[in-house]
Amino acid sequence: MGRLTLEAIERRFGEVEALCGVDVAVEAGEILGITGASGAGKSTLCRIVSGVETPTGGEVRIDGVPVTRMPPERRRVAAMFESYALYPHLAVFDNVAFPLRAPGAPRLTRAAIAARVRELLCLVELDGLEERRPAELSGGQRQRVALCRALVQDARASVLDEPISHLDAKLRHALRGTIRRRLTRAGAPAIWTSPDALETMAVADRVAVLVRGRLRQVGTPDDVYRRPATLDVARLVGDPPLNLLRGEVVREGGALAVGHAGLVLPLPASVARRLELGDADRQAVLGLRPAEIALARDGAAGVAASVWVWEPLGRYGILSVRLGEDLIKLKAPRGLRFQPGETVVLDFTAAEPLLFDPVEGAALQA
């Protein structure tokens, strides 16, 4: 089994650049997560890898061999599209079995096909629905049929475009494990897209962040979460994502700190190393993690803010507060209750701010 390589992939629609300079390789047995907002180019990239769309520039290789102009039926790339693309006249069973019966597919006995199809339908909790037509299924059920049709094949690469995005949390959790195990066992390179960056972090070995057709960062889940390369990446990752506030680098004693609306935070070593005392007064965008802002204990010093809205989520809650002109979100312990307009005191002592260039958007930390 060989690696999947994307080299300088470009896709233009007239004047519109849907993809530009996409360079990334996926190793055999690796899952590459691709995340980005809708319209970022995730689906176009998936269509190019599967062969239903041809790039206007660049090369797709499988195991070193260019396949860019090879028709999809000869590439042996298993694909699941966001639109599902099920055959409306075929029953669930036949939709899933379709790629196994296609000309060119390795010959399997009828019993072997049935066994594979039934095993998969069972894994995604669709057993018993084998004879239904797609029109008789809910959206979530159709999505799982499309998923089975991709996973049933012995492919040289797999491309799953938003495979679990419209399902409930319980099923998503179960399917994350099921799909990951099958992809890893199959040993081919795999791409898994989702607009939810946290989903790609949970399943993928590496995560690629696509912003308006360009790859802004490719790294481990920890890299994109802890060390976003640009403001665009920081805006996409996390629920809620980083709080991004306009700030200024200030001189505090003999060191640099960062200030925002009366709040002064020491710079973490990774940022301080990059900056010199001469950088004081420099404008920056300050990134504060929702989990690193705490509520001060009764009577303790801190920064007063006004409650905007409280969202209890069971395990924890998300508290949105107004701090001057800004809306800041923090993860607060469970079981609390807040009224809109109530004053709370924030404790920033655990915060390790990230800094970004306000014009270029690039991270200032090493």
Binding site: A37, S38, S138, G139, G140, Q141, H166, L167, D168, A169, K170, L171, R172, H173, R176, G177, R180, P195, D196, A197, L198, M201, A202, V203, T220, P221, D222, Y225, R235, L236, V237, G238, D239, P240, P241, R289, A291, W308, V309, E311, P312, L313, G314, R315, I318, S320, K329, K331, P333, R334, G335, P340
Partner: protein, 364 residues
């Protein structure tokens, strides 16, 4: 029942009946039996147009050739209201939603989040008795979703309009609603405040539907062993909080299912930690940002469950590691108090009803 000014969420998997319920409220689907009241007014046989219900749709359903202001004003224009009143009402709503910069922009040019804000504006401008939200966030990306979620909640509180939200997404339901009604196969399973559903699920369905990753379930038999309460399961024995024993009363059930949330399990090295605990191997570690989730395949082969355990980012466990899992409520400050009854949920093996710890008295 949904009290005035409250946001009630109807939550369930696809096909559970939540959308049918919403359509019955809107008056676009007939009710076979029963009665719907808005306030004291029965509306079951009133047609949709006369119920004063506004809908916010999953796909926004805006008029693509109209501007933001024209879309929002539409329900008033079409009713032939005076031009002054239409303009005043629309402007009020536009200001409330922070859409002033886009007032005269064609809705086609807006992001999904902004389009849905227009959809909400069009619902609010009629001053409806009830607003029905049908999966309002399902077409939005992560960041827009979490932003609009908070905005809708804030707006609903500010305007005090009664709202019903239909969603399959437990995070959305918990975050936005005052109370959540969990449905499965057309049957209402539990109605409660978000924290009540999380802390005291009344049955196995609710237990597994609320929370991500879902609650771990372990079938077995409670027994005494050397003065301690343990669960004897096919995967071995596991120490339980003794305090739940009292909740069983005199008739301790024979076979139960113990539910444990991922944050109420702790992992230890092969020969470490409290006893008895469950042994297994780490099958995968999911990165989740602030914390990670370690999946542990409990020894004993395929029928044994894979446990999901929440761990700190610094925790050492990697795929292939041998570990032992014990119950531990880390939110308890005192380590001696970590085997708290609140860390487990006990369900009847037949039927899945909650047995212990008991539900507290209903909150006002």
């Amino acid at each position: 029942m949904c009290p005035d000014g409250e946001l009630l969420a109807l939550l369930g998997p696809s096909g559970c009946g939540k959308t049918s319920t919403l359509k019955m409220l809107a008056g676009i689907e007939d009710v076979s039996a029963g009665e719907i009241y808005f306030g004291d007014r029965p509306v079951t046989r009133l047609d949709a147009a006369r119920r004063n219900v506004a809908m916010v749709f999953e796909d926004y359903a805006l008029y693509p050739h109209l501007t933001v202001a024209e879309n929002i004003a539409f329900p008033l224009t079409v009713r032939g209201r005076p031009r002054d009143e239409v303009r005043r009402s629309a402007d009020e709503v536009i200001a409330l939603l922070g859409l002033e910069p886009f007032r005269d922009t064609s809705v086609r040019l807006l992001s999904g989040g902004a389009q849905q804000r227009v959809g909400i504006g069009r619902a609010l401008v009629r001053r409806p008795a009830v607003i029905l939200f049908d999966e309002p966030l399902s077409h939005l990306d992560g960041a827009q979703k979490s932003q609009l979620r908070a905005e809708i909640k804030r707006l609903q509180k500010e305007t005090a309009v009664t709202g019903v939200l239909v969603t399959h997404d437990q995070t959305e339901a918990m975050a936005m609603a005052d109370r959540v009604a969990v449905m499965d196969r057309g049957v209402l399973q539990q109605v409660g405040a978000p924290d009540d559903l999380y802390d005291r699920p009344q049955n196995l369905f609710v237990a597994q539907f609320i929370g991500e990753p879902p609650m771990n379930l372990l079938p077995g038999r409670p027994a005494r062993r050397g003065g301690c309460l343990v669960l004897e399961s096919a995967a071995g024995a596991l120490a339980l909080p003794s305090a739940v024993e009292a909740a069983f009363g005199a008739t301790a059930p024979d076979e139960v299912i113990i539910g444990i949330r991922p944050e109420h399990l702790a992992l230890h090295g092969d020969r470490e930690g409290p006893s008895p605990a469950l042994s297994g191997s780490v099958s995968y570690r999911e990165a989740r940002g602030d914390t990670d989730v370690v999946l542990v395949q409990i020894d004993g082969g395929a029928p044994m469950p894979e446990l999901a355990v929440e761990v700190d980012r610094e925790a050492p466990w990697r795929a292939g590691d041998r570990v032992r899992a014990s119950i531990e409520d880390r939110s308890a400050g005192d380590p001696g108090d970590r085997l708290r009854p609140s860390a487990i949920h006990v369900f009847d093996r037949d039927g899945g009803a909650r047995l212990a710890p008991p539900a507290p008295a209903a909150r006002a």
